[in-house]
Amino acid sequence: MTRQHVTTEINGEPQDFLCDAQETLLDVLRDELHLTGTKEGCSSGDCGACSVMVDGRLVCACLLFGVEAEGKKIETIEGMAEGDKLHPLQTKFLEEAALQCGFCTPGFLVAAKALLDRNNNPTETEVRYWLAGNLCRCTGYDKIVRAVMDVAADMRGA
């Protein structure tokens, strides 16, 4: 079967790729483009480890085909820091030890950024519901939620 040619923008840069119709965006990101920061957890949209932004919407990369990305703007964890300068969420996750094994962390960071980009004054309940699609089996969530709340407070103070 011929592979389909797909034209996208990934983290602000034009990016073409070839993929089979049944390959997910997650397959393409990891195996074709070697953007392995986006993790494969459940592959069924339950764990959020593969969270990315597609045209400004938070989605699971395992739940869309790579070919569906045609003409779309994709943002992954690799685009979050500016060079060596970490995003405030990344810094705060480190400072407050909001991770242990780190596997879920890229997904949490992408999802938390999506929340704070639209609402820099969320309640704890809003943070917990927004992040309900991201599973972490290490931390018990408290440190993650606290880190997100603290970044939101810093953003409002700035």
Binding site: G45, R57, L58, V59, L63, F65, V67, A111, W130, A132
Partner: protein, 286 residues
């Protein structure tokens, strides 16, 4: 497997017709991709309908609201006019999955996936929503309650697909509501769902009612005896007790670890009653 993303309804119908039943319609993909990956379905062609304008548009007019079948939950939840007119439908939609799922999942997919536990379907049925369906013989309309015929089964014919949902004109002093029971607070599948839509007169007497239940039978149930119990009443305790009994009597649920038959039957009555009280409060305010 091949993938096509046509930009018109006619083109999509043609592609589906050529595939002789081996094609699958793709909207948000939150169910379909999981099913393909698990090998439950092996389409030779996937027709992505998200590039078709009619399926991606919400339009609000004097005679009602039209919601494209591939509009996402997130888009619906951000639409103030739909939220104001049909809060029950929007709350049913927003209960589905996570933020990530909301970014993709659609009403058309939720209906055509044909799960007995689909949250938006009781809300759509309660709202008297009509599906506009495209197919090789042109377009036709059908009430939402006629689409699903059993778990995973629909009445849609080969190469037909749902284009949009038409919600009727919102009458004064009317409102809808949706409640579901799950064993946790978020990210779960309905054990019971109840959708209600009511119209009151100026004295608070119920003029019209629709009661629909999910996850308590192979398909979503339109409980006409429940509506009958409400119409003509002030939604007093006696009417609510009758509604509760009618809702429970209509159930024919499965028995599993998430909810026994006895539990689902009882909760269906409780949720129907609570949904009526929410809809009543909303109706009194508009």
């Amino acid at each position: 497997m091949e993938y096509k993303a046509p930009s018109s309804i006619d083109e999509a119908v043609m592609l589906l017709a050529q595939a002789n039943g081996k094609a699958h319609v793709l909207a948000g993909g939150t169910d379909l991709l999981v099913q393909i990956r698990a090998g439950f379905t092996k389409p030779t062609l996937v027709v992505d309908v998200k590039n078709i304008l009619e399926l991606r548009t919400i339009s609000v007019a004097d005679d009602g609201v039209c919601i494209g079948a591939a509009v996402t939950g997130a888009e619906l939840g951000e639409h103030d006019a739909v939220k104001a007119a049909w809060p029950g439908l929007v709350e049913a939609t927003e209960l589905i999955g996570s933020t990530q799922i909301q970014g993709r999942a659609s009403l058309g997919g939720n209906l055509c996936n044909a799960s007995p536990a689909a949250d938006t379907v009781p809300a759509l049925v309660a709202a008297s929503a009509i599906c506009l369906i495209a197919g090789p013989n042109g377009q036709r309309e059908a009430p939402v309650e006629q689409i699903v015929t059993g778990p995973g089964q629909t009445s849609l014919k080969n190469s037909e697909f749902v284009v949009q949902f038409q919600l009727p004109k919102k009458l004064p002093r009317s409102a809808d509501a949706y409640l579901r029971f799950i064993p946790r607070t978020e990210m779960d599948i309905a054990v019971v769902g109840a959708g209600v839509n009511l119209t009151l007169d100026k004295k608070g007497i119920c003029q019209q009612a629709r009661v629909a239940l999910g996850a308590v039978a192979p398909t979503v149930l339109l409980v006409e005896a429940g509506a009958k119990a409400l119409i003509g009443s002030t939604l007093d305790d006696a009417a609510l007790d009758k509604l509760r009994a009618a809702a429970s009597a209509a159930c024919n649920p499965i028995d599993d670890k998430r909810g026994t038959v006895e539990f689902r039957v009882d909760v269906a009555g409780v949720l129907a009653k609570r949904a009526v009280l929410i809809a009543k409060q909303r109706a009194e305010m508009n």
